[in-house]
Assembly symmetry: C2
Homo-oligomer: 139 residues x 2
DNA sequence: GCTTACGATCTGCCTCCGCGTACGGTAAGT
DNA sequence: ACTTACCGTACGCGGAGGCAGATCGTAAGC
């Protein structure tokens, strides 16, 4: 293939399209992008400090405070001081948080499938597999 | 595959990694990201108006003016008023611009190949093919 | 000729984000 | 006890980018 667009250019365009497609889904569930990212991270595993969470999701540690406040007020996450070290706040999902995350995640999966609906199933599977292999944030 | 990261999340992470990897390449050639995007667009086809160029690359029409100024000053693009309609500026690469674009593009291709070096050749080919199929900016 | 529409440019406003700083609370080593 | 280091939080700065309006030159319809 002598002529193709730049890889980065394609990826950035595709990312934008994906994020744009997911915005309405998130809005429908009343979660911000960062909020959903936080829910996803905590759904995978609870965190012992906010700094660790920020590092895990690639955000500034001061940035996510407002989002954590919001999520906590809405009863989606718990943020209680560690009795063993009262500097740190133990972060985990509540039942409501887990439920909301599952719902949003399902809606997003559906949207993703819609965007990839032209692809043969085998191609789609391989595509996802390669993406995971290249993903710098996975392993 | 019951459990995988969100597609958008993976794509955004990968995009960031790609852009970060290409930044040094661009700097080595003295071009900004937008500058390179402009060169790429004009390498594909000359443009009759700056507004059309901005639309083509998904940028604000006022945003790219400074970049065009810079590229023009450095003799990489030509921006002459259309004799038939002196409102519009005909945009095209100069020989130097075409040459620089080819050089940067080559370096970026090499960098991309390096990042995908773990992938079997067949997977890589299919991956690129699928990306082009999904790319919203292609057709 | 006059009005309307359009291209390029400049300016200002707004948001988002990364980064650094500062401060109070707390732990741990000595 | 004292020092050092770390956590969470607040604040401000600066860059990047999207968006709107104003201006100027120009074109086209009437």
């Amino acid at each position: 293939m002598p002529d193709r667009p730049d890889l980065a250019a394609m990826m950035v365009r595709l990312s934008r399209a994906l994020v744009a497609a997911e915005r309405p889904v998130l809005e429908a569930h009343g979660v911000s992008m960062w909020g959903y990212i936080v829910l996803s991270a905590l759904a995978e595993e609870p965190m012992r400090t906010q700094a660790a969470l920020a590092r895990a999701i690639g955000a500034d540690k001061t940035r996510i405070i407002a989002d954590l406040d919001d999520l906590q007020e809405r009863g989606l996450i718990e943020r209680e001081p560690d009795p063993a070290d009262r500097r740190v706040r133990l972060l985990r999902l509540t039942a409501a948080g887990r439920e909301l995350h599952a719902a949003v995640r399902g809606a997003i999966r559906a949207e993703e499938d819609r965007l990839m609906s032209d692809l043969p199933a085998a191609d789609r599977r391989l595509f996802l597999q390669i993406l995971q292999a290249l993903d710098p944030g996975a392993p």
